[in-house]
Amino acid sequence: MKLRKVLRIARWEVSKNAGQLDRRTVAIGLVVLLAVGALTPLVAQQGVTLDDGIYRVGVPEDSSYHDPVAQDAKFVAVEPDPAAFPGEMELLVRPDGRVVAAETPKGRAALSDFRDTVTAYNDRLMTAESDEAAAFPVYVSVAYAEQNSPTASAAGSGAVRTTAEGKQRLDGETGDGNGADSGDGGTDSSGEESEGGDEPIGAPSVGGSGSLFGGSASGGTPADVAPPFPFESLVLAFAFVLPMNFVIQAYASTILDERVNQRGELLLVSPVSREDIIAGKTLPYFAGMVAIASVTAVGITTLTPAADGVGPLGIASTAAISVAAVIPIALLFLASSFVGGMFARSFKELTFVTVTLSVFLTAYAFVPAIFTNVHPVAAISPLTLVVEALQGTGAGAGPGVGVSLGDYAFSTLPLYLSAGVLFALGAGVYREEDMFTQRSVPLKFLDALDGQISGRRSAAKLSALSIPFVFVAELLVVALLFALPVSLSMPVLLVAIAFVEEIAKSVHVYAGFAHERFERTLRSAAVLGGFSGLGFFLGEKATAVAQLVGLPDLELGQAAFGTVTGLGIEASPLVLAGLLFAPLALHTITATVTAAGATRNRNWYFGTLVVATLVHAGYNLTVVSYIG
C-alpha cells in the first residue's frame, strides 16, 4: 500500500462527491439540518411521550381524583357514567370516592399506573405546604456497598462478581497506573455511608432530575430515590452511533457505484493495487465519522452538567476516550457496509442490507450499555466506555479515569478484528470477475470465502479468522438471553453457540467444495475437517486472553466461553488438561461431519450441520452440568 496513492484516491472520492453537490442540494441539506437542530430541543423539552391518553377515567369534577387525572397526560377524564363502565372507561371513581377498575388486563394496568400518578400528584401537592417537616416527613439517602458473601447465592443469584472488582483486578494486572478504581465514580462509596448523610438536602425536587446520574449516593425525599440507570448518558452515547448510519449509506452507495455499468474498470486497470483503492475510498468516510464523533464528543462533554468545574484538560481527555471507544464501531460499520456494497445486486438490495447492518450493529453497541453499573454484561459494548468516561468527569477525578486498557481491549478488540477480516473478505472479491457479475448475496459470500482459499491449510486459517465473528455473535446471543431466567436461557444459549461455531468451522469448507477446489471424497473431507477444527481450536485459545478480562464472571459467559477453555472453572489439573484437549477432539470431529456433508450437496450440508450442532451442544451441556 502506498500512502501517496491512497491519498490521491481519497482526494478523488472527496472531489467527486463535492462535484455532485450543487447549490440546491447544499441549500436543502442545510435547511434539513437546521430543522433537526431546531426540533431536537423542542421535542426533548416536550418529552417523547408515547402513552398520552391511553387510559380513560370516569371521574366527577368535584372528586379529589379529578386533579391527578387532569394533570397526567396518560389519563383522560370522562363523564362518570356508571352505565358506560366498563365499556367506555377503564377506571371509575364511585360517588363514595372508591376507585374501581375494569376486570380486564387493561383495567388492572390502568389502576397500577393510577397509583403512581396519585403518588406523584401528592408530592406536588405537598410542595405548597408551609410545614415542610410534615409535608415531607421522610428523608432518604441511599449509599452503595459491596456485598461479598457466598450466602448471597442462597437466594439463587449465584455469586456474581461485580464490575468494580473486575476492574480492580485488571488495574493490578495491566499496571497502567490509573490509580485503582476511582473510575466507578459516584457509585463506589463502599462503607462510607456517612457520605450520604453529609449530602446537602435541598428543597424537594419532584421528578428527581438535576443530576445526570441517579446512581450516586443521594439524599432527598422518597420520590427522589432512583435506581442506577444511566439513561441520559445512553441517549448521549446514542448520538455517536446515529450519524454513522447516515455515513454508511453514502459509503455503501459509493462502493456499489463502482460496480454499476463497469465504472470501476478504470481504477482497476490503473497501476494501483486494490488495497490502495479500497483504503482511498474508505479514508474520507472514516475521517468524516471520526470528525463527527469528535465534534459530538467535545459537545457532549462540554454541555454535560456533570462536567461542570472540570478544566479543558478533563474535557479533552473524556472526549478522547469517547472517540477512541467509538472508532472500532465506526470501522465495523464501514467494513460491513463495504462487504454489503460488494455483494448487493441493486440499490434496493443494498438498502435492505444496510438497514439490517444498522439494526444489528446498533443493537450490539447499544443494548449492553444500558446495564452499565448494573451488570457485567455491559462490558461487551464499547459504548459502556463512553458512558463510564462521561461518568468519570462527573466524579471530578483526574483525566483518563474510568477506562483501563484492559476494558478497552475487551470491548473493542473483537470489533477491530471483525472489521479487519471483513475488509479482507471484501477486498478478495474486489476484482473484475466478481465486481461486475450479478449473483445473489449468499453466492457472493461463498465466492468471497473461496477467494481466500489457496489449499487445504486455508481451512485452518479461515476457521481461526472466523473467531472474532463467533465471539461477536456469541456476545450478541448472551446479551439477548441474559435477561431471561437461567433455566430457560441456558439450553437455548448452548444450542445457539454450538450452531454459530459449527457454521464458522464449516461454511468455508462448503464454499471450497462448491467451487470444486477440493476433491469430493471422504478422505479430503476428513483432512479439511481436521484442519478446520485445529484452526478453530487455536483461534479459540488465542482469544482466551480476552476472556480473562471479565466475562467469565458472568454465569452465561461461563457457559459460552468457559466450557471450551476450562477457564474460570476450578477443577483438578488432570480434568483441566482433559478440558484443554477435549475441545480439539470435539471441533475436529464435528468439522469432519459437516465437511463430509459438504462433499455431497447443500441439503446434505445442512443436515450434517444440524447433527454437528446437536453433538456440540450435547458436549457443552455435559461440560456445564458436570464441571460448571
Binding site: L50, G107, V118, A134, V140, D184, A226
Partner: protein, 349 residues
C-alpha cells in the same frame, strides 16, 4: 390502470427475485424479539414478582425510629424486616449477605425521619433492591403524613387500591405496536428512493420511456408497489399479535392510518429521488427528512405512533379519528401534488 399494475408487478418481482426482502422481515422479527426481551429484562430488574414469584426482600432495620418503619414493611408480603440493635451489626450482616438492604431510621428536628439506606453495589440485584427501598420509604412517607395530618392544610389524596397488573401491558401497546407498524413504512420509503434512483443511475429510464407508459404511470406503479408493502407487513404483525393473545382494537383503522402514512413517506422518497437522482444524496436527504417530519409530529396533539397506540389499546377519542383522517388527507394531497408535477414536467432527461 393496467400499465401501473405492470410497473408495480415488475418492482415487486425484482424484490422477490433478490429475496433480500427476507432481511427486512428478519429485522422486524429481531426488533420485536429484542425489544420484548429488553422489556422482560428491564422489568425483571425492577420488579421481583414479575419473574421469580415469592422472592422476599429482607431489610435490616436499625436506629431509634426503627419501630415506626417495621409495621410498614411487615404489611407487604414481599418484604420482611429484621431488627438489629446496632447499626454496625446490621452492616456486618449486610456484608455477609444475610439481608438485602440496611435501613437506619433516626428522628431529626420537627419529628422528621431520616432514613439512611445501604444497597448492594454493582450487581444484578442493585436495581431491584433500590426499587424496593423506594417503595418502602414511599409507604413510610404515607403513614408519616397520615400521622402528621393535623399540621397540613391540604390533605394528600388517598391512594387507590392495587391490582396485579402485567408490567408489559402499556409497553406492548405504546412501544411495540407503533414500532412494528412504522418500521416497515421507513423501509418502504427507502426502497422507493432506490427504485427511482436506480432507473436514473443505470440509464434504464430510457427503455421505460419508449414503452407506451406515461411518466405518471411509472411513478404511480413504483409507489403502488412500495405503498402496498408496509400495510401488508403491519397487517401481518397485528394478526400475529392478536393470535399471540394481545388483543388489538380497531385493526382496520390502524391499517388505514398505516396505509396513509405509508403513501406520504413513499411520496417523500419518490420526490427526493426525482429531485436529486443520485442515490447517495437522495437517501441521505430522505432519511433526514423523515426524521424531521416524524419528530415534528410529536409536537402535534396526536402523533401517528400515539394514535396507533390509542387505537390498538382501545381508547381512541374523537381527536384520534380526526387525526387519522388528517394524516391520510395530507399524504394523499402530497401524492396528488407529486403526480401533477410529474405529469407537467415528465421524468427529465
Amino acid at each position: 390502470m393496467d400499465n401501473r399494475l405492470t410497473v408495480a408487478r415488475r418492482e415487486l418481482a425484482s424484490l422477490r427475485s433478490e429475496k433480500t426482502i427476507v432481511l427486512a422481515i428478519l429485522i422486524q422479527l429481531f426488533v420485536a424479539a429484542f425489544s420484548s426481551f429488553l422489556a422482560v429484562g428491564l422489568v425483571s430488574l425492577y420488579d421481583p414478582g414479575s419473574v421469580s414469584n415469592g422472592f422476599v426482600v429482607e431489610f435490616a432495620v436499625t436506629g431509634e425510629a426503627s419501630d415506626d418503619i417495621e409495621p410498614v414493611i411487615e404489611a407487604e408480603d414481599g418484604w420482611r424486616a429484621v431488627e438489629y440493635g446496632s447499626y454496625e451489626t446490621a452492616l456486618r450482616s449486610f456484608e455477609r449477605g444475610e439481608v438485602h438492604a440496611v435501613l437506619r431510621v433516626e428522628r431529626g428536628p420537627a419529628g422528621r425521619a431520616q432514613v439512611d439506606a445501604i444497597a448492594p453495589d454493582g450487581n444484578v440485584r442493585t436495581t431491584l433492591v433500590v426499587t424496593q427501598i423506594k417503595n418502602v420509604v414511599e409507604a413510610f412517607e404515607r403513614t408519616e403524613r397520615g400521622r402528621l395530618s393535623s399540621r397540613l392544610t391540604r390533605q394528600p389524596v388517598e391512594l387507590p387500591g392495587d391490582a396485579p397488573a402485567s408490567p408489559y401491558f402499556s409497553f406492548t401497546y405504546t412501544v411495540l405496536v407503533p414500532l412494528l407498524t412504522f418500521l416497515p413504512i421507513f423501509v418502504s420509503g427507502s426502497i422507493a428512493v432506490d427504485a427511482i434512483a436506480e432507473e436514473y443511475d443505470r440509464g434504464t429510464l430510457e427503455l421505460l420511456r419508449v414503452t407506451p407508459l406515461t411518466a405518471t404511470d411509472i411513478v404511480d406503479g413504483k409507489l403502488l408497489a412500495m405503498g402496498i408493502l408496509a400495510p401488508a407487513q403491519a397487517g401481518a404483525w397485528l394478526a400475529l399479535l392478536s393470535f399471540n393473545g394481545t388483543a388489538i382494537a380497531n385493526p382496520v383503522e390502524i391499517l388505514v392510518l398505516v396505509a396513509g402514512v405509508s403513501v406520504g413517506v413513499v411520496t417523500l422518497g419518490a420526490t427526493t429521488a426525482l429531485a436529486f437522482r443520485e442515490r447517495k444524496q437522495a437517501q441521505f436527504l430522505f432519511s433526514m427528512g423523515v426524521l424531521v417530519a416524524f419528530s415534528a409530529t410529536y409536537l402535534l396533539p396526536e402523533s401517528p405512533p400515539n394514535a396507533v397506540a390509542k387505537l390498538a389499546i382501545g381508547s381512541p377519542t374523537r381527536a384520534t379519528h380526526l387525526a387519522v383522517g388528517a394524516y391520510v388527507l395530507v399524504s394523499l394531497v402530497a401524492f396528488v401534488a407529486l403526480r401533477r408535477v410529474v405529469a407537467g414536467r415528465g421524468l427529465g432527461e
